[in-house]
Structure formats: C-alpha cells, structure tokens
Assembly symmetry: C2
Homo-oligomer: 363 residues x 2
C-alpha cells in the first residue's frame, strides 16, 4: 500500500519504471514484463495482480527503451515530395488528404503511427526518428531518400510505380494508361470529335503515363493531339493554361484536365468564351474533390481511389516489416473510377426543380 521507496535514486517523483512496479507487486521485473505483455507462463492471478499494481502506479512503459530493445518503433514514415520548401503541393490536396487519412487509419488498426517526413528534410531529422519502414508518395527517378532508406535495410513502399531502377520493396499504383484510354473512349462515345488535354510539364510518372496514353489514343483514332502543359505546382498557372487551350484555333470540343483544380479552371474559361458545358464542350478532370458534384453543371471526374491506395500501401509495408508471407505480391494495381456527371454527357439532362443532395464519396 505505502510507497515502498526502494528506488535506487533519491530523486523524487520521476515516472514509475518497471522495477518500481516489480517492487510494489513483490515480483521480479521479468514477471511484470511478462504479465503486461501477455507472454511467459503465469497464472491469471499473478497477471491480474501485476496489472492492477501497474495501473495504480500509473506505469507507462518507455517507448524509447522498448524500441531500443526490440528494434521496432511502431513508426512509419510518410514521405511526400516537395516543391519549393513546402510539403505536398497545392494540386494534390484532396488526393493527399484522403490518401493520408486512409493510411493513418490502416496503420493505426495494426498498431502503427505515421510520421510526416518531407523528402527534403534535413538529414538530421531523418536520423533522429526510428522508423520501421516508409511510405513514399510518387518518388522521383533516383530519389536519394529512398536509396538511403533501402541501404539501411528499411522496407519502402511507394505510391506510384517507381521510375527507373528505384529499389522499392513494393508499390501500389493505378493503371493510368487504362484510365485515360477509357475516359477518352467515354468522351468519344458522348460525341467528342476533338479531345484536348490539360497536362503538366513535370516528369513524374503520373503525368508522363497519362500524357503518353493520350498521345497514343490520338494516334489510334487519327486525331491531332491538342494539349497545353503548365507547371502543375503553380497555383495560378492552371487557369492561364485552360484559357490558352480554349483560345486555340483548333479548339477542342472536349477536354480532360489532369489535375484537381482543372475542372473549375476549365469551367471558368469556357464561360469566358461563351461555351456551354456540355453542349459546346465536354469536360472531365481528375479529382477527388466533391465540389464537382455541385458545380453548374456537375463535372465528371476521374477518381484515383486514394483511400484504397493509402490502405494498400500501408498493408504492404507492414507486411514487409513484420515479415509476413515473404512472397506476397510486391505490386498492386488499384482500379480507377470514372464518376460520370453532366459535363460529359452530350444530351443535357432535363432540368429538375430540386435535385437530390449529392451522395457521400465513401471509399
């Protein structure tokens, strides 16, 4: 009952350690550890007793000590590419938020926590945190961070297939080519004769694959490509590029925008030129934002299913960390979803007085 002051130090009030619990419960340190971690062979009575004493003392095991001993920290890095000195970019907000949210949930469910670590972090920060593995979003060609991590023997799972010979443990990605081809077919089926593209001038895999898919589709159907590129990480450049695209002499009658804000950008540009959507111009953009369900008209979007990706990435990583089933698939393709709304349907749907509220964008 009374505080047995068998502590080795005169210092008062430092947090209770495992040996304080052992002393108070009248057992050995081993027994406390086993009782609390459900290991060893102890009678239930002892186990309960130890647990109760630990509770009473407010005992909290030291994460640092445990990590040092076991070599596992329960921490997963979430690495985001940076433009300038800011972590993750303007154009990827909704995608990143959804993906990170799902990843956090998935990690948590398996007892892990996520640490946000921009790729450009100072080296000393990287080294001051004990990671069990890392998720890398859209790694660049020869990402020094990934190389370094792999060299340290840490598993690395990337969102987006690695470019070149980047030695990731596993990756998850969409089939961007199939997505773009399907989407272009959808537009063509809706009556588009000349489909334009609004794309980025960066070299990341997503942009590259999507653009080449567009070009090959054009070649297949015998259409001249009509596209404008812009630096996607610049928040104002998109509107300018959208304007350029619709100002061209060979103005397209349908446009696919590769980045999230392109939908509103294109819609605004269309209005400036007096183009009605979808009558004069069909519109699709890649976005996870639900605002496109409530625009006038609602805009068809391509969803990359960031929640599925976030979940899959974390599962793969934790499997690798825990050495579960070594010969599990190291790459996983998540299907995209085309959410068809008014902007890509040639025939305008009859105007309803009160349309039903938009449905939640679960999963």
């Amino acid at each position: 009952m009374s505080r047995t002051d068998t502590s080795r130090r005169g210092s008062r009030q430092s947090r209770a350690g495992i040996r304080d619990v052992a002393a108070a419960a009248g057992v050995s340190i081993t027994t406390v550890s086993d009782a609390l971690n459900g290991k060893g062979r102890l009678p239930d009575a002892t186990r309960r007793h130890v647990r109760e004493v630990a509770d009473r003392l407010g005992y909290r095991p030291s994460a640092a000590a445990r990590t040092l001993r076991t070599g596992k920290s329960g921490l997963i890095g979430l690495t985001v590419t940076t433009y300038g000195d800011e972590p993750f970019t303007f154009t990827e907000f909704a995608y990143f938020a959804e993906m990170a949210r799902a990843a956090t949930s998935a990690a948590l469910a398996r007892g892990y926590a996520l640490v946000i670590l921009p790729a450009t972090s100072r080296h000393d920060v990287w080294q001051n945190v004990a990671l069990d593995g890392t998720v890398v979003i859209d790694p660049s060609d020869h990402d020094p961070v990934v190389t370094e991590l792999v060299r340290q023997g840490l598993p690395v799972v990337s969102d987006g297939r690695p470019a070149g010979t980047l030695p990731v443990t596993a990756w998850v990605d969409n089939d961007h080519e199939a997505a773009v081809l399907g989407l272009l077919d959808h537009l063509a089926a809706a009556g588009a004769r000349r489909i334009g593209l609004l794309t980025g001038n960066t070299t990341d895999t997503y942009t590259r694959l999507s653009t080449t898919a567009y070009l090959s589709w054009c070649e297949r159907v015998g259409q001249d490509p009509v596209y404008e590129t812009y630096p996607a990480h610049d928040p104002c450049a998109g509107a300018v590029a959208a304007d350029r695209l619709l100002a061209r002499p060979d103005r397209p009658d349908a446009v696919y925008g590769l980045f999230d804000p392109n939908g509103t950008d294109l819609l605004a540009a269309a209005r400036r030129y007096g183009l009605r959507v979808p009558d004069d111009l069909l519109l699709v953009c890649c976005s996870e934002s639900t605002v496109y369900a409530a625009t006038e008209p609602p805009i068809t979007t391509l969803s990359l299913k960031p929640r599925r990706i976030g979940t899959a990435v974390v599962q793969l990583l934790i499997d690798a960390i825990e050495g579960i089933d070594e010969n599990r698939p190291v790459e996983q393709v998540i299907p995209t979803e085309l959410i068809v709304r008014t902007s890509s349907q040639r025939r305008r749907s009859p105007r309803t007085k009160v349309s039903p509220p938009r449905s939640p964008a679960q999963d």
Copy 2:
C-alpha cells in the same frame, strides 16, 4: 583500412554502432560521441578524423538509444478529432491540410517531426511512441487524451481555445466572434436586409462562438435570426440544409455558411430556386479552398489563416518543450481574412471577356 573485427559478437553485418566507429578510428566511444555532437574539447584534427571514419562505415546513430539517454525524441504528436473511426473530417479538408502543412514545415525547421495521432487511437499506440509534446486540434470539453498527456507532464498546445477547464499549456485561435461580426457588417453594407446562417449542430468551440456571434449581431440590429443547423461531419447533409434554408418562407437575402462545402451547396441551391447571386442572394462561406475563386460567380470566403495557425502552434509547443522563455504568451490570436469576391457585392461587376487568372493563396 581492413575491417578490424573487434566486434563483441560473431554476428555479421549488423549496422555499425558507435563503438565500431571508435574501434576503427582508434579512439574511445566518448571521443566519437563528442566529435559527432560537437561537444567536449577536441582538436579539429581528431574531430575530422572521427567524422570521416563514421562516414566511411556508414554510421547512423540509433534514434532509440539517443532518445532513451536524453529523454528527447524530437517527435511532436498531431492530434485530430475524429468523427466515426476516421481521422479528421470531410468539412475540414482544406483547412486541415494547410494547417498540417505549415505545422510540418515549422516543426522541421526546428528539427522536429510530426506524428499523426487521432484522438481515438488505441491507448497502446499512444504509449508506443515517445512524444516530446502534442498539438491538439479543436479539443473537446474534457478531452481524455489531453488530460492524460498533461498528467504525464507533456506540453500540449491546442488549435482552438480550450473549452471549460482543459489544462493546455498554450493555445492559438482566431477571434471567431469578431470575424463573424465583421462579415455580417460587410453583408449589411452590401445591402443585405435579412442574413441567414448555415451552421452545425455540434458543440465545438468554433461552431458555438460563430453561432452566438450571429445571434447577438441579429439582436443588435434587430433582425430575426434565420438559420439552419446540420451535422457538419455528414458529407451530404450540407446540401439538404442549404436547400431548407432557401425554402423557408422568411427566405434570407444573404447567407453565411460556416463550413467549407457550404459555398457550392448554397450556390447549387440558389440555382434550383432561380436565385441570382449576388443580385438576389449574397453569399459568404468560411473556406480555405481556392475553388471559390473560379466558381460562377466567385464566392467571398472567410479564411481562418490555417498556415499561420499551424506555424504558431508549433512554435509555441517547441518553445515549451525546450523551456525557452517560460513567461511567453500562452495564448495567441490570429486575425482572419475576408476575401471579398463577387458573391457578396450587390452590384455585379461588368462582365469581362477574359478575366485574369486567380492569384495564389499564399500565407
């Protein structure tokens, strides 16, 4: 040059530790530690030599051991409230993303990393990570997590002033009352006779303060309050509530929406009822999203300046962790910004053929 195998274990190839470096450099462990950490009094020659050997061996100090020894982990928790089992909610995407982004940058600049930890996390996850302190976003009245953390002696800084007697170390917040009052005055100045409110039915501080500010403004100017409430964490309820508000017999001629998606919700509802914005209906909503610059018409938004908040929160927390200037302000109020666009200006601006692209939403 040759691998001096003085390692105490027969085991091969385990990561180089500090004593491997010491052996290879022909000095003691102390010297290595001092040389690498810039402490002690060593001649520059020794320091350089040790550093070089450490580099050659690919030595990476163990974060866990360092944490155990020093008691500092360099990790800051970022706690988000949850609705259901998902971290952070639909309505706060843009705000949260901006805030987290700024917080990450600020922490990084001072050598800390952020760990995402939903408030409802399993207890064992909380305990498995060694935190130096925690940022809590919008803590509820008697948040058990905050209480627990404070009891452990960890500094806690909250985004949003703590309700009741929550014992946070410091907090950062906007002056929500002033913001709402100013915004309502702005609408009144633009000619609004009856201003409605679209608000939440939750009890968090933001919603409560904003709503009471609205009510007291109404009382002051002698207007009957016209408002609808809905569960803000439900992604479809907003559209329904917006519709309800505009369907009322005492239909307002101006509306302020408290949550991010309310702008598009209200705009869509207005269209259904044939109301022109801003001619028949003035519109303002609280949002960090840039889509409202490109809607038709562009919508006036109230920005809570999440980036400033994120930065301030982290600075305050790290100051507390490092014990800098104990008597520093423990509360900080960040001014809001009303970004005035067409939707809240009575007179429609002349239609331009090509409007300039929207400006970036820096800071």
